[in-house]
């Protein structure tokens, strides 16, 4: 833990994440206007009333930006968590169990690995036509867990052969208990890093889906802001704020997850640390 706090990448990533989390949580307090209100002048430039101006549809950009943090964060973190759980079963447990269970679960993992993620995503999304965040989370989870599961599986296999794991078997421990008490804790670094990797994937892919107009474009989120900006040709009309800022936020949040991913890796494996 201490090493984590001393790690610059960790602190940078954590700070950014914390910042966005606070913005998302306190959105109603921070946001000057309701982001969906269209009672304002169209495409106004930045002014003291609207710090970042208004959209072609008359909405306050700053409010949109602030509220936009919510769906993005929710999708990112929730997908990350769900993927982590799936990977635990499909990767860690499968690797430890070995034999028939492993054969079956690995095959399933490999199938999902080979499926082309993005086209699948698009197809599923098009098919479901539901506009809820839940759908997005599910779709992202289902298409994003396979690769990390393989990594976790090989880690679990190497831990399975460690003497202390065999000693746990000799002590009469049941399989699931060995996995939860010995394998998972000793893999914590990889698991945490995987979680942040999955969150990063979710944030970027969600933004992409929205940008392509494939998901929840009527919900206020950074990705959908980009969609509307593109749709309304914002750059041609000189509204660079509308176009750039959501993208920047996505970039920052993605970076935060990326930094945390690397940092956890470093902390978990001292050999990766730079002196």
């Amino acid at each position: 833990m201490k090493a984590f706090l001393h790690n610059r990448r960790a602190m940078a990533g954590a700070s950014i994440l914390a910042f966005f989390a606070l913005v998302a949580i306190f959105a109603p307090l921070l946001s000057p206007d309701n982001p969906s209100d269209i009672n304002y002048g169209l495409m106004l430039g930045p002014s003291s009333r609207h710090l970042l101006g208004t959209t072609p549809g008359g909405q306050d950009i700053l409010s949109q930006l602030i509220y936009g943090a919510r769906p993005t964060l929710v999708v990112g973190l929730l997908t990350g968590a769900i993927i982590a759980v799936i990977q635990l079963v499909m990767g860690v447990f499968s690797g430890y169990a070995g034999g028939a269970i492993d054969a079956v679960l690995s095959t399933i993992t490999n199938v999902f690995l080979v499926l082309p993620g993005l086209p699948l995503l698009i197809v599923i999304k098009g098919y479901t036509s539901s506009d809820s965040l839940t759908t997005v989370v599910v779709v992202l989870s289902v298409t994003g867990w396979a690769w990390g599961a393989r990594v976790l599986r090989s880690q679990a296999i190497s831990l399975r052969d460690r003497p202390f794991t065999e000693a746990a078997r000799m002590s009469g421990e049941r399989r699931w208990r060995i996995v939860m008490a010995h394998i998972v804790p000793n893999m914590f670094g990889v698991l945490a890093a995987n979680f942040f990797g999955a969150a990063l994937y979710a944030v970027l892919t969600f933004a992409f889906l929205q940008f392509m107009g494939l998901a929840n474009i009527n919900e206020v989120a950074w990705g959908s802001m980009l969609y509307w900006a593109q749709n309304d040709s914002a750059q041609m009309l000189g509204q660079w704020v509308f176009l750039l800022l959501p993208g920047l936020c996505i970039l920052l949040l993605g970076t935060a997850f990326g930094l945390l991913n690397f940092a956890v890796d470093e902390v978990a494996d001292p050999r990766l640390r730079r002196n």
Binding site: R162, P163, A167, S171, G172, R174
Partner: protein
């Protein structure tokens, strides 16, 4: 097949008990390595017959590839035997035991691992590691647990026990870690301990204390012990009887003084000559001849596995694996010379 050593092997004063602590017949273990088209079979253990009397310390000696560690792991059922039978306290272990049968087995047969630095989970305190067997085997009720833990730690020399229970492995020395390993094994109240080179990764001055600890526990807990090692000196010190293994086969078995003092099998003689022994060798200019290479377990010759290297090999050695011959009372050798 050997019955429990008779009286010559067991230490004097030990009551004769009909059921040996461990009885192994025809134990064989093979692995497949390689992939499609180029699969090789590694014969790690071939037809091993062995018995360990109650309260006996049996030294299992061999070099790497001899099968001694595979033997211990197979008896502990960390690996499944390919064929053969394992009986503990007279009870046979079925070839594919269910969870419950396996648990029973583990409550009787425990293992001490070689490397004290990897055989303890670094993330758990000593208390966790030693208390788990108490829970899984239902040894004591929860409220008696603390007392039992303290007693066990004191038995292995980790005093004050309360202090050690709180520590993590990284706060312990190699010798202390190994003692925790012994404590963990003891907690299950086994009748048989399999010690897989328990001192080879410890500093030299610590080894004796661990070996003495095991000998003391043999007395106080009425344990039987299989002491697996490549170190002849350690085996001599610890064991009542010694079994020599080569290329997965048992080649000589007998009381320690006999096997070490008058080794019969040419391989045992080779080991004896090779081992550092200042008492015998000092000042003498002994010429050491060792022909051939260590055995390839995927390509064992027909007949005696040691024949390619044996200075006294004859044609009958290469034709067929020699049977057991008696070289002395309770001293048996797998060699045509006798």
């Amino acid at each position: 097949m050997f019955s429990a050593a008779g009286t010559a092997g067991a230490p004097p004063g030990m009551a004769q008990n009909p059921a040996p602590a461990l009885e192994v017949t025809g134990l064989t273990k093979t692995y497949s390595v390689g992939m499609l088209g180029r699969v090789k079979i590694v014969r790690a253990l071939t037809n091993v017959d062995l018995a360990v009397a109650r309260g006996e310390v049996l030294g299992l000696v061999g070099e790497s590839g001899s099968g001694k560690t595979t033997f211990a792991r197979t008896v502990a059922y960390l690996e499944r035997p390919t064929s053969g039978q394992v009986l503990v306290d007279g009870r046979p272990l079925p070839p594919r035991p269910g969870q419950e049968v396996l648990r029973q087995h583990r409550s009787r047969v425990q293992m001490i691992f070689q490397d004290p630095y990897t055989s303890l989970d670094p993330l758990h305190k000593v208390r966790y590691t030693v208390s788990r067997p108490l829970r899984t085997f239902g040894i004591v009720a929860k409220k008696a647990e603390q007392g039992t833990l303290e007693r066990i730690l004191a038995q292995v020399g980790l005093v004050p026990p309360g202090d050690f229970l709180r520590r993590y492995p990284y706060q312990l020395s190699g010798g202390q870690r190994q003692r925790v390993g012994v404590a963990r094994a003891l907690a299950a109240r086994p009748s048989l301990l399999l010690a897989d080179e328990p001192t080879s990764m410890l500093d030299v001055s610590i080894r004796l204390s661990i070996m003495n600890l095991l000998l003391d526990l043999r007395e106080s807990e009425s344990l039987s012990l299989v002491f697996v090692t490549h170190d002849l000196a350690g085996a001599s010190y610890m064991s009542d009887r010694i079994a020599i293994m080569y290329a997965g086969h048992l080649v000589e078995l007998g009381p320690t003084e006999k096997v070490m003092g008058e080794p019969r099998h040419p391989y045992t003689q080779l080991l004896r000559r090779a081992a550092p022994d200042p008492a015998t060798n000092f000042g003498r200019d002994t010429r050491f001849e060792a022909r051939g290479d260590p055995p390839d377990l995927t390509d064992l010759p027909q007949g005696c596995p040691f024949a390619p290297r044996c200075p006294q090999a004859r044609s009958e050695c290469r034709a067929e694996l020699p049977g057991w011959r008696q070289a002395g009372p309770d001293h048996n050798v797998r060699c045509v010379l006798y």
